[in-house]
Amino acid sequence: MRLSGKATTLLVLMAVIAVAPVFFPSSYYYRVGSLIFVNGLAVTGLVILIGYAGQISLGHAGFAGIGAYACALAPVHLGLHPALAAVLGAALSALIAFLVGRPILRLKGYYLAVASLGFGILVSMVLSNEAWLTGGPDGMAVEEMGLRAALKAIGIDLSNTQFWYAFSGLVLVIGAWLALNLHHSPTGRALRALHGSEVAARTVGVDVARYKLVAFVVSAVYASASGSLLALQNKFITPDVAGFMHSIEMVTMAVLGGAGSVLGAILGAAILTTLPQVLTVFQEYEQLMLGLVMMLVMIFMREGLLPSLARLVRGRGE
């Protein structure tokens, strides 16, 4: 069995999401699960940017921040329904990614890293400094989405954590499905071509600048949706969601699991989201362990966990 098949990936993902609750001893695990799905969504977007197109961004938390604060602010100031606010946030993120991406994506490697990092920091700085609007570093409350109540009215009664587990799981599956479709589309092929060699891609007629921008905008929308989900689920949001460390976490999750594969990246999200929960017992050692894991995986499994393991399994079979 090869893990690269689109159907396999989706089936594995859906099966894990559906079956995992059987083993949950308490509602706390639903909460951790939904956090994994929220992070997994952002990371799936980064698979498109890093894994498909070979670009890097150290500022994608900025888009998560835009998505999150759209859900917090639009219902209060524009009277929008929180779900529509999430759509507005995604549209805004796409627009900003389009405007920022144009000049940024001409840069390469470390220069692209610092430019995207600068963008992310600017967003988080605005969010924490404009306290009159965003509540500053203390954060602000987010309205209830109301979908759970609607489900209850038609007879599906879920607890809060169960609802968010199911809902973010569903969104993640849709996100993964779209990303996998993109992989096999002409656009996906163009992205992978420019990843391999920009010059070669240009020679065969790929509009390199345009396709990089497409990957950047799409991944920004994923990050924004992830930020919105987080805000709606927590009903509270702080500027940390847009912070530099969040950007780093996202990229690390993607690369740790294997940025080339959607399933691998989601595995990375699962590991890095669970790790701090497990390590709360040894809170003193949390940073030490996190740093160590990041270094070890990158040194010994350069392609990330899942592709490296898959290769190991395949290698043994042959």
């Binding site: 890093i50 890097i56 150290l58 000049p103 940024i104 001409r106 840069l107 490697g109 470390y110 220069y111 890293a113 610092v114 430019a115 990092l117 600068g118 963008f119 920091i121 600017l122 700085m125 605005v126 400094n129 530099f244 780093i248 990229v251 690390t252 690369v255 740790l256 940025a259 003193e284 050692y285 949390e286 940073q287 030490l288 362990m289 996190l290 740093g291 160590l292 894991v293 990041m294 270094m295 990158m298 040194i299 010994f300 350069r302």
Partner: protein, 290 residues
């Protein structure tokens, strides 16, 4: 006018620190093509180890020396344990490795020492010196003099010594350097040691002004990285110019615009510079790195 002078003075002090951090980035980048995000942790270690050695009863100069030597050892360990095994890995992986290293060092520091904010006494007292209506701390003069001394020393090292030229040769072309008999692994080790020592020195010099704690490294690394990029990656002169420019920019923004957005100014300018000149201010020269 005194106001402007005051902002200039504080900008140059901060800028000198950024320039030292940027210089550390540059040295490692030239030797190994790695941008070391743990650079800020070297500055933190320099300050923290001095604080605790001094508190243990050692005289300040000795404590500072121990801190610089210990940090240099950490730099060498970083190279041997994390960078060398990952040679040839893609940029994203290297970024994650060095960020992992910085988180690791932060975690270890917090375990070995503590999470408190510390300082030690300034080298020549805390009485401000009046300069044309503005004032400057004696320690600021130490920072500026230290930065100048490091740049002058490095210039001598790179132009007057055989080892220095071997480092330059390695930076230019690793394989060609190996072919003429340069031990490039030694050059790598030396570069990490120097870079860490310079970072630690910056930490020792600036701690009496800014104080230190286990988590000051990240912000410094980001600023130093930005300064190095501003000047053009891999160019020591660019690091000096980028650092000073960034420091002045922050001081002017804090003074005339908004102290909340002083960090923003730096990144706005970097974005603008990169858009106009994708290779940084001194980037042209980076084709044959100095």
């Amino acid at each position: 006018m005194p106001e402007l002078l005051q902002f200039l003075l504080s900008g140059i002090t901060v800028g000198a620190v950024y320039a030292l951090v940027a210089l550390g980035f540059t040295i490692i980048y030239n030797a190994s093509d790695v941008v070391n995000f743990a650079q800020g942790e070297f500055v933190m270690l320099g300050g923290m180890i001095t604080v605790f050695s001094h508190a243990a009863g050692l005289p300040l100069p000795l404590a500072a020396l121990i801190a610089i030597a210990a940090t240099a050892a950490v730099g060498v360990a970083l190279n041997k344990l994390a960078i060398e095994p990952a040679r040839g890995a893609p940029v994203v992986s290297l970024i994650i490795i060095t960020i992992g290293a910085s988180i690791f060092i932060r975690g270890a520091t917090q375990l070995v020492f503590d999470k408190q904010i510390h300082r030690f006494p300034a080298f020549s007292g805390d009485r401000p010196i009046a300069v044309g209506g503005a004032t400057i701390l004696p320690q600021s003069l130490w920072v500026i003099a230290g930065a100048l001394a490091v740049f002058f020393g490095l210039w001598l090292f790179f132009t007057r010594t055989l080892t220095g030229r071997a480092v330059l040769a390695t930076a230019n072309n690793r394989i060609a350097a190996q072919l003429v008999g340069i031990n490039t692994n030694y050059v790598m080790t030396l570069s990490f040691a120097m870079s860490a020592a310079i970072g630690a020195l910056a930490g020792v010099l600036v701690t009496p002004i800014t104080m230190t704690s286990y988590d000051v490294g990240l912000a410094l690394a980001l600023k130093g990285f930005a300064a190095a990029m501003l000047g053009g990656m891999g160019n020591p002169k660019g690091a000096l110019a980028g650092g000073l420019l960034l420091g002045l920019l922050e001081a002017m923004t804090a003074g005339y615009v908004s102290s909340q957005y002083k960090d923003a100014a730096a990144f706005v300018v970097i974005l603008a510079v990169l858009f106009a000149m994708p290779q940084g201010l001194f980037g042209r020269k980076s084709t044959d790195r100095v």
